[in-house]
Symmetry: C4
Subunit: 268 residues, 4 copies
Amino acid sequence: MSWQSRFEELITNKVFEFFIIFIIMASALTVGAKTYNITPFWLSVLAVADIGITVIFITEISIRFLATHPRRDFFKNGWNIFDTLIVTISLIPLDNSDMALVARLVRVFRVLRMISIIPELRILLNSLLKALPRLGYVMALMFIIFYIYAAAGSLIFEDVNPVLWGDISIAMLTLFRVMTLEDWTDVMYETMVVYPMSWTFYISFIFLTAFAFLNMVIGIVVNVLEEEHQKERDADPDILHLEDVYAEVKALRALIEKQQGGSSGSGP
Amino acid sequence: MSWQSRFEELITNKVFEFFIIFIIMASALTVGAKTYNITPFWLSVLAVADIGITVIFITEISIRFLATHPRRDFFKNGWNIFDTLIVTISLIPLDNSDMALVARLVRVFRVLRMISIIPELRILLNSLLKALPRLGYVMALMFIIFYIYAAAGSLIFEDVNPVLWGDISIAMLTLFRVMTLEDWTDVMYETMVVYPMSWTFYISFIFLTAFAFLNMVIGIVVNVLEEEHQKERDADPDILHLEDVYAEVKALRALIEKQQGGSSGSGP
Amino acid sequence: MSWQSRFEELITNKVFEFFIIFIIMASALTVGAKTYNITPFWLSVLAVADIGITVIFITEISIRFLATHPRRDFFKNGWNIFDTLIVTISLIPLDNSDMALVARLVRVFRVLRMISIIPELRILLNSLLKALPRLGYVMALMFIIFYIYAAAGSLIFEDVNPVLWGDISIAMLTLFRVMTLEDWTDVMYETMVVYPMSWTFYISFIFLTAFAFLNMVIGIVVNVLEEEHQKERDADPDILHLEDVYAEVKALRALIEKQQGGSSGSGP
Amino acid sequence: MSWQSRFEELITNKVFEFFIIFIIMASALTVGAKTYNITPFWLSVLAVADIGITVIFITEISIRFLATHPRRDFFKNGWNIFDTLIVTISLIPLDNSDMALVARLVRVFRVLRMISIIPELRILLNSLLKALPRLGYVMALMFIIFYIYAAAGSLIFEDVNPVLWGDISIAMLTLFRVMTLEDWTDVMYETMVVYPMSWTFYISFIFLTAFAFLNMVIGIVVNVLEEEHQKERDADPDILHLEDVYAEVKALRALIEKQQGGSSGSGP
């Protein structure tokens, strides 16, 4: 038995898979544990655990790489590239004070390996990502609405409160806040002192974004329902269709016409 | 007539059922009344009522137990176990000052008996609980999103506000608050003073969770609609199917072919 | 031509209807105008207008009453009773200082006549009210959840903040606030100082109510969709059903069997 | 080749279209850039760019006008009128200090040309606008609810807080805030000090508007689903219908009846 097929057997083994999931969970827990104030003893335990996890991850990805045939196919899978990157970057020594934060954040992203290793989560994420493009034009329309209101807002309200309306990017952040309805009246009452009619600005913006958002949601619901409907129809090719009944009746008619032709032929 | 069948008759009696519902309501009212500042006279009235309610509950559950045949089946029903537990625990004398709160809380849970006694509420709760497992993977994905953002947040923002970002569990609570859009800008503006780009952290988190939540809702809607559709089709076996028409046409064809064979056989 | 049929003609007249809608709008405007600080001149104008509106309303309802045949049927219609009540109560002189507010509020409710006079709004309101009963059990379940959390909350948190958790009714109002996610963290952070684990109380409550609310919404959507579906099927009795095709094929078979019987009978 | 057909060719040219989209984007960027504090050098660059953009827009619209045949049809298209207006108004010299803001705002609206130039966005906006009328009566009902609550609110609560309940228009703004659940408890707690039962006012208002809003959303969803369903049925006239099978069976029966009549006729 070749090394490659042994490796292939190993990575499809359920025990191996659960072991890797357990290691990713351990990795997530060490990341979480470091956010608490812990004693130096536990800090060194975590450091050792971290080295162990890194070693296991390198071993696992190497096995995966060696099991793939041909080997260049390994990097055709986006998740493999992601796993390799996450593990490779965590190898770079970044523990001087400036980059320690970056090193810690890279370890946080290891938790994302949970998605790459559990097929159901991968499918779920893919279906989420697939839904994004069909939102494209609604997103573009929303961005145009935001841009116009932000430009108008920062032109008119800049002197009222430069912290909220200083320039167009800050104004867009303020408008996102208004869209989420988070303390939007505080923003409004402030500008209404200077411009008493400025409530029209906020109410029209809230109506526009709520309406566009609602249409987006309804669009997704209708799309998903139709896809399900289509999938159901395609799924079962053995199901009886109206076409089958039609074909049968047609055949019956041909039979009778032939018989009639025969009987009228044999008549005289 | 045996005792058992008399008890069975009693617990299926409508008057008995309404009496028990009335007692549970009285139990709920005594629980509510105790939260007000009441005179010692009414306090003693409530104490007497409490003893009466406990006695009636014990009697009722005993009757239910004795009416079940065989008796060990009584504890196969989750609601029976729940009822027995609630009533039994409220028998333990816990009125010393330390445990008085626990004793009172146990009496609060008696109100839940309303669900165990009214079949429609029981069905509703069951259907709610049945919907939970299909949310499993979306919940897992959401938890991973929360965990990563909480780990990153508590690493980066710990020094800005340890009350909100002190460790990973506090950070998850803060992120839940941000997800519900409750004063999330207060949290953001605070960290933006130190990290001006930290708005990306919040906006991306809100988008991710809103999108995952939306997909969860749509998933449930589609599932429920399909189940209803399936139920409708299964509900009425007498309904005419395309298959029946097909079978009839097939039979007709066989008849004509036989006739044709017969007529050609009788021909010469 | 009798008086009754003349009145009947009048109330079905479009011009008359638009005139009454115009008067209701005028009535709404006078109600609105009184909320502004207006000069004594305009106050007296409004008082005159008010008398005029009342006179027109009395005349209109009298005509409606006289046009109904038999007259006791007039009060079988809930909207007629509502109109009569609103107009009658506004006749009672309540202008002493104590009851002036009540007199004004009664005039506010005249605006509701807009719903009783426009059929489309009446239909819309009826369909809204018809949707309420099917929410009955979900509402009951939600009330039980509220009651239990409110009882537990006022028992545990009363000493932390009696303004929010003083008794069970105040606690239910506080919980309604938490359900609408309005500054719920302020409520939570306050109790977490004394009971650090009290976040479980709020998070579980938000999850439960959000989940029950979501199921209520989905339930309504599914119900409405099914009703539409049913209505569509019932609406067109001329539509071709599978049953018709089946009957036709059956008849065809009977015909052929008769023919076959006949031909075999006439055979020898 | 005539000038007109050359212009027609030009405006349907993809390169020309992308060039105009690029210019609109540049126009949007200059609008955004002006909201920042920029050096005089960049201010003059923006002024030059502004002149260039205006010139290009005039040229483009002139070409569009000249390419239309007959020319009066140009102004039958609403988007053409919109484009011409936006460009014409930005030609008026408004740079004195009083009107500078208006001049800047007109330039902001140029960004809306993005919608008039990209067909997909135009279709999306049209479908959004088409959905509005069917909301008409729900909107009217909501307005009546708002008007009555605002009138009642400003009558009762005016003395509590004239800033929120001063007159009916301010009260409607306050109620809109309550509907969005934005710090609605602050409004409520304030009036509960004077009128302890005023929570009924807010809770009933929130329930009414939430319920009306929910019904509006469900109405839209059902409408959209039905339209899609109808569109699907209409889209494919070649699809086999039950009617076709029915007609075929009918024809078959006629054939057999004729044959039978013929055979019984030829019998004797």
